[in-house]
Symmetry: C2
Subunit: 159 residues, 2 copies
Amino acid sequence: MTNQLTKIVALNSWNAIITQANTIFDAISNEDMMKEVAPNRSTGVYLLGHLIAVHDRMLPLLGIGEPMYPQLFETYLKNTDLKKYDSTTVIELREYWTAINAKLTAAFDSYEAEEWLQKHTTISDEDFANEPHRNKLSVLLSRMNHLSYHLGQISFLKG
Amino acid sequence: MTNQLTKIVALNSWNAIITQANTIFDAISNEDMMKEVAPNRSTGVYLLGHLIAVHDRMLPLLGIGEPMYPQLFETYLKNTDLKKYDSTTVIELREYWTAINAKLTAAFDSYEAEEWLQKHTTISDEDFANEPHRNKLSVLLSRMNHLSYHLGQISFLKG
């Protein structure tokens, strides 16, 4: 019961942030997504690609499956020139964003409450025995904060 | 055991964000805190005051105690001119920020794991019976995302 509650609270928070993100992205035109969020800072489209790549990597990290868009990783995770973006259009990126979050949400909905306390895939059994807090819930909270951090920036592109 | 783990994971996330916030604030001079984070957006000092006010209101909300700095609420919660700030200096605000988070952290450390699943103070017993996910943990996650959101913006004032 209490673990079930924790699961509901964590997923409610996750879903609320995703909804907030979609509301913000919906309020920004494709043209405005090409602009820098602040002078000499990342463009909206770069940050969208970055968020897709980070969420995509949650699939293997949480044992859900293979990444859906690994071709984005080079540009949106490793590129140090934050103003660059690859040939993927903002329209395509918007579709990827919806698809990756739909896949994550479907997986989260199917998790048993206890599953959030299981280890993620990049920690060894030995380390996890000593650090049981490095579980799937910790990944969820970390990515939630990461999304909120960049949403605060992306929101500057709204009219 | 599992509730204890959830508590640890949630508090680890909270503490990590507070540490991240302090690192960012420490990297911004008092002079730069007076600047807008982006053209026609809030100043750093306004956002700091806003974060203090929001965290201060967690004290009554979570049943920890009375607000420490209610005099800030008018300016930093209700003011619609986000560039305004009151006569409190940025040096004072930095001290308030440290103090309010120290008080929250001390309270959180003393919570029993089950306490996170109890209701917060602005929901009635009746509503809570129907919506048990509106508990103290949900407040913590919500404020964590709020802080991350504004940190993404404040980070633009770093060198």
